[in-house]
Symmetry: C2
Subunit: 209 residues, 2 copies
């Protein structure tokens, strides 16, 4: 199997390096991935690498920022269900979409920043901070929909939108770890279904959906 | 801060190396941890290392097995609440205990095998398999208590004991990733409280507990 990334025509070297970092780190982690491997996968020279990035760490930070932009586009902007008017239905469609993504080999659906921060949180404050910013951006964006659902339907126990958004993220990150351990998305998918049942039970009338 | 592991008197070199692996991998990941660092942290010579283990990978496998034994002792055998007669109360006490553990720096409460498999699932089948066996052992043991709770109290939607056990594990693994990203256990604790609320809602009469 080739580990070369397939690129859009005329993609910039910087963008190819970021794509390669996403691919390699998701597959083998951050520490195990060398600058040489990233260059080879991107089809870019080492000179070009150091023209764009001072270090692997600097690429890691840029790749986390790009990961946020990619998630915002793929999860919150492009899918047709983001235009569902009912905020609770929109939230449940979000969960269904996350479930739908859990298919094929784990490196295809797992999280670049979650993987990177798992091993770098204590070694690199720059990588931890960049990963945190990416995960927080997801949670804050998701909390907007949850807040709208709370405003329209009541929620139990005064659960806050941001707290539930972090829980959604925790379940997804944990499901990724389980899928990697099991070498199968089965238990991960099951866990997202538990999450969906929980969300339905939290909202008044949610269980009838 | 010293990175030497504090050992029980007369602990064997093998056991010191496993303790050091647990400590270093939880803090900085598997790939970033060298045999030299493990030896230094264990206070054991490199000769002694290779007397016990053919490679870092072999130590990783042994450390996963020891992690299972440690979890079985610390979580399912020693705590007084494991002798609570009511299985649902015992299950909720288990969740409270997992919540109680989420304090201090992440390397002190996060999971050795979850961290290791996150980066090694595609690179080392031996490490993936050893990590999977450890996580599965936890889930299968927890499922015994959940099964007993289902037998005494009904559970919604025909949820199976093993499926709920994997969900508990997914929430914990995800909470660890979030705690590392946030450099704080706050959102991780909150996520375990969501899990507890879910479990209570799943069982008949659970919400009154």
């Amino acid at each position: 199997m080739s580990s070369r990334v397939t690129h859009a025509p005329r993609q910039s070297a910087r963008s190819k390096l970021i794509d390669a970092a996403h691919m390699l780190v998701r597959k083998q982690g951050y520490a195990a991935t060398s600058v040489d491997e990233i260059c080879a996968a991107a089809g870019v020279s080492k000179g070009a690498f150091f023209h764009h990035f001072a270090s692997k760490e600097e690429l890691g930070v840029a790749a986390a920022e790009q990961w946020t932009a990619r998630a915002d586009e793929l999860i919150f902007t492009l899918p047709p269900w983001v235009r569902i008017e009912d905020p609770l239905e929109r939230l449940l469609a979000h969960i269904d979409f996350r479930l739908f993504m859990l298919e094929g080999p784990p490196e295809g659906f797992t999280c670049f920043v979650g993987t990177m921060v798992q091993e770098s949180f204590a070694s690199s404050e720059a990588l931890r901070h960049a990963s945190e910013a990416s995960i927080s951006a997801y949670c804050e964006r998701l909390a907007v929909d949850i807040e709208a659902a709370i405003a329209r339907y009541r929620i139990r126990d005064g659960v806050s939108a941001i707290s539930l958004a972090w829980h959604v993220q925790a379940v997804l990150q944990g499901a990724f770890v389980i899928a990697k351990a099991r070498n199968s998305p089965r238990e991960a998918r099951d866990s997202v279904l538990h999450l969906k049942r929980y969300i339905k039970m939290l909202f008044d009338g949610g269980e009838n959906r």
